[in-house]
């Protein structure tokens, strides 16, 4: 983490999507998506289950190929045809379905595909960097020489996050990173997101937890049924956000809130 890569002027546009669409056969998972990410900015991506958030992340990670639209990284149009290409361009991802090899140990997973000295791997140096990185994340990993299979869900999540930081990315995308984490770990991840932002990198955060989103996001991009449904800020009221996510003012959430209010009034 120490050797920071070329920092950007704050506010510089580093990622720009225009009209991105993705079809899985008959299913249109994404349609006409626009998204901007600037240096030193945390963009929260919210939406109901199945809104297409993970699909968008996978398109940007080079896992899926978009069926339409353009992606620009630092002003240059790019094709993210492999995950390796996305990593090269400085886009790192923590996937929702964790992408770890259970048969390999923590160090091997952290450095997978980017081992130090490929012809004679430097295990000692890799282990030192692994511990340093994990300590920065305040991770509680008992041993980095145990296979991933022996770790808990939260510990695996931490390893996945640590791995995304290893390559000093320009943009880091986190797909529901705190879903499996405890209270302290969640706070650590939010701190981490702020630190990454302070270093002038862009962050895309996906979370169902509105509290977390409000705590760190500069902008909140809402997806609904695979389409853009407005851009909001942390100041936007809860009701308004929920309405954008669910697509109506009249919905289960607002009905429930109204009922609670009535109960309080009567009580």
């Amino acid at each position: 983490m120490e050797q920071a890569s070329a920092a950007h002027a704050p506010g510089e546009l580093i990622l720009r999507l225009r009209g991105v669409g993705k079809k899985f056969g008959a299913v249109t998972a994404l349609e006409d998506i626009d998204l901007d990410v600037h240096a030193g900015e945390v963009v929260a991506l919210v939406g109901d289950n199945g809104a297409g958030k993970s699909t968008l992340v996978k398109v940007l990670a080079g896992v899926h190929q978009p069926t339409s639209g353009t992606i620009e990284v630092q002003g240059k149009a790019v094709t993210l045809d492999t995950p390796g290409k996305a990593l090269e361009l400085g886009i790192a991802t923590v996937f929702q379905d964790l992408a770890l090899c259970e048969n390999l140990d923590v160090v091997a997973n952290l450095f997978l595909g980017h081992e130090i000295s490929p012809w004679r791997m430097d295990e000692v140096q890799m282990e030192v960097r692994a511990w340093t990185l994990l300590q920065e994340l305040a991770a509680r990993i008992p041993s980095v020489r145990e296979p991933i299979a022996s770790l808990s869900g939260g510990q695996r999540q931490t390893v996945a996050i640590a791995r995304s930081l290893l390559l000093e990315p320009q943009i880091i995308m986190l797909d529901e990173p705190t879903a499996a984490l405890g209270v302290a770990q969640t706070a650590e991840v939010l701190n981490l997101i702020e630190r990454v932002r302070a270093r002038g990198h862009g962050v895309i955060l996906i979370s169902h937890n509105m509290e977390d989103v409000r705590a760190v996001a500069d902008r909140i991009v809402v997806l609904r049924l695979g389409k853009n449904n407005g851009v909001y800020t942390a100041e936007t009221s809860h009701q308004e956000l929920v309405a954008a996510i669910t697509g109506a003012n009249e919905n289960a959430v607002s009905r429930r809130a109204a009922r609670k209010l009535e109960e309080v009034d009567q009580g």
Binding site: L98, A99, L112, E115, Q125, P142
Partner: protein
């Protein structure tokens, strides 16, 4: 970012901050760790060692000739060819793939040697290069079928089995058999040539020395990097046991002819492949693809290229095995590579501890496994059992090895060790 660091228990080693972990040190610690691993299903080389001891006891009781030095030298001569094939099989098994055409590939390779070298009169080196190139090419074909057409490797290689056998019969022509001259270096290599005694002893001492030097260096590096170091007592104990064993083995073989060059070359390739699998990025990628191909892809690994390389290494080693088999038999015939060659090579890799399910294994499993298979085959031949019985027994041994593999896998899953 250092100010954010929450180093617990400052002063402790970087990797020993967690009080929940037992940090095994010294010899007793190593022993305890070993028992833990085995009981959770991480068997490693244990079954094969137990198997070898069992086989030695049973066969030497049935026929004392089995353990005679002269017979063991023969076993080593026989082991090299199948050993090479098994070495290739390890690579494809690591990816969770299979190559069922290795027998045919080795047979074809023998035939190419015969045709190019004897019938056409090309230099031996050219003939060998030709058969290795053929092996690599066949690997490319399997790789393309797997990568571009998503053809399961067992289907692709099963059709390869027949196609390559056909090609072997075709190029051998109606006579069907080509004899290689006994005075030629290739046949002498396959039947007579023995490493000089001093070299065998030197090679027997080398691993122990390297283990100790390696341990001292790793310890120094780890200490300098503020990591815990396991101490060198374990390494010294390991090296002592290994050196004693190897030196005794060489001494025992020297009572007869000694260690065949053929076997020595095979062991050298085992060491090379082991280095490639354990110490290089390529090897790490092989394990990753075998463990979770999608995760490997998302880490930026070119999964298709890794698969291609595995199939190529496998077929090329099978071709090399064919060259060795031709040298051993002094002929290139229609029978080369048929019969139990396929099964023996795959069984050797699995018995040695390489999992059929991908992601686990080692180059050493080819060496140990082929010793088991060849010992069984040799022991049964000494008992004058027909090949029908030999086939059945070898088949049974493979089944047992696969059962052990499956049970160990289940146990590892329930112990969280994948």
């Amino acid at each position: 970012m250092a100010q954010d660091m929450q180093t617990k228990a400052t002063g402790a080693r970087l990797d020993q901050g967690d009080s929940r972990v037992r940090h095994d040190t010294g010899l007793s610690g190593a022993l305890r760790g070993f028992v833990d691993r085995v009981s959770s299903g991480d068997l490693g080389m244990l079954p094969v060692v137990v198997g070898l001891v069992l086989i030695s006891v049973v066969f030497s009781l049935l026929n004392p000739v089995f353990l005679a030095p002269a017979n063991l030298v023969n076993v080593l001569f026989d082991a090299a060819a199948v050993g090479f094939i098994a070495l290739g099989v390890v690579c494809v098994l690591l990816l969770g793939e299979i190559d069922l055409s290795i027998g045919s590939m080795s047979g074809l390779s023998s035939a190419i040697i015969g045709v190019l070298w004897i019938n056409t009169g090309l230099p031996l080196a050219v003939a060998i290069a030709g058969s290795l190139a053929m092996g690599a090419l066949v690997g490319v074909v399997y790789g393309v079928l797997r990568n571009k057409f998503e053809m399961p490797s067992f289907v692709a290689t099963l059709s390869g089995l027949l196609a390559l056998l056909g090609l072997q019969l075709y190029i051998l022509g109606p006579t069907g058999s080509i004899n290689l001259p006994f005075s030629s270096p290739l046949v002498r290599f396959g039947q007579i040539l023995i490493m000089p005694a001093w070299l065998s002893y030197l090679v027997a001492i080398l691993p122990g020395v390297l283990i100790v030097i390696g341990a001292v260096r790793t310890n120094a590096q780890r200490t300098a990097a503020n990591l815990s170091s396991p101490g060198i007592s374990i390494a010294i104990a390991k090296a002592a046991v290994l050196t004693l064993g190897l030196v005794f083995a060489v001494y025992y073989l020297e009572l007869s002819r000694g260690v065949p060059w053929m076997f020595g070359v095979f062991v050298m390739f085992v060491v090379l492949l082991d280095y490639a699998l354990v110490r290089t990025q390529w090897g790490r990628s092989m394990f990753a693809v075998g463990g979770n191909a999608e995760a490997a892809r998302r880490s930026g690994i070119n999964v298709q290229r890794i698969r291609m390389s595995a199939f190529m290494v496998c077929s090329t080693f099978a071709a090399l095995g064919g060259v060795f088999a031709a040298a051993r038999l002094a002929s290139a015939s229609q029978q080369a590579g048929s019969g139990d060659v396929n099964l023996n090579a795959i069984a050797a890799a699995v018995i040695g501890g390489t999992s059929l399910f991908g992601g686990r294994g080692s180059a050493w499993s080819a060496l140990l496994g082929v010793l088991v298979i060849m010992a069984i085959s040799n022991g049964l031949t000494l008992l004058n059992l027909s090949s029908s019985l030999r086939y059945m027994i070898t088949g049974g041994v493979l089944a047992v090895a696969v059962i052990v593999d499956s049970l160990a896998r289940r146990s590892r899953a329930s112990h969280g060790r994948a």
